[in-house]
Amino acid sequence: GDKVKQSPSALSLQEGTNSALRCNFSIAATTVQWFLQNPRGSLINLFYLVPGTKENGRLKSAFDSKESYSTLHIRDAQLEDSGTYFCAARLYQGGRALIFGTGTTVSVSP
């Protein structure tokens, strides 16, 4: 089954609104990364987290290792926020691999 499950799979936002993406892990995770894949296909690093919270501009991310989930909050969505967001985690029983979720596709419209 999916070790890293992302929700929702797709999201439509209006400019200026807020939203949250979630990543659930089937087993405990040690670190989490969030990426944005832009329409050209490039992966942009957003956050690298050990348990805790980080904020960067309009984006904020939290990683709760005890409850096995991570969230990414988008505040005041802009057109350039459109793309596919991936979370990836190192799982305690996942060996050394970074396990990726299947992504959340975000479309921001005017």
Partner: protein, 112 residues
């Protein structure tokens, strides 16, 4: 800014063809990785390395070889390409295996 570059950016080959994808990092990172990305699967790890001459098997290694010639350079080899290997391939690097990974721009491979 740390940099991971990949070449070629696009490649088309035929079934049975021989393909080499190249990756170079100027981060002075020890670890390098090869992933493939397919619709519905996210990214999956093919092979990785923790230094020149070292190779570790990832989650989807079948049909792929890899070689790490220097700290900077990591190559992915498809010796008998098949249509199932049509995919977007990413290279990444990190300081150690628990540190943040940084990705290259990707190589789109099509096997006809």
């Amino acid at each position: 800014e740390a940099a991971v570059t990949q070449s070629p950016r696009n490649k088309v080959t035929v079934t049975g063809g021989n393909v080499t994808l190249s990756c170079r990092q100027t981060n002075s990172h020890n670890y390098m990785y090869w992933y493939r990305q397919d619709t519905g699967h996210g990214l999956r790890l093919i092979h990785y390395s923790y230094g020149a001459g070292n190779l570790q098997i990832g989650d989807v290694p079948d049909g792929y070889k890899a070689t790490r010639t220097t700290q900077e350079d990591f190559f992915l080899l498809l010796e008998l390409a098949s249509p199932s290997q049509t995919s977007l391939y990413f290279c990444a690097s990190s300081w150690d295996n628990y540190a943040e990974q940084f990705f290259g721009p990707g190589t789109r491979l099509t096997v006809l």
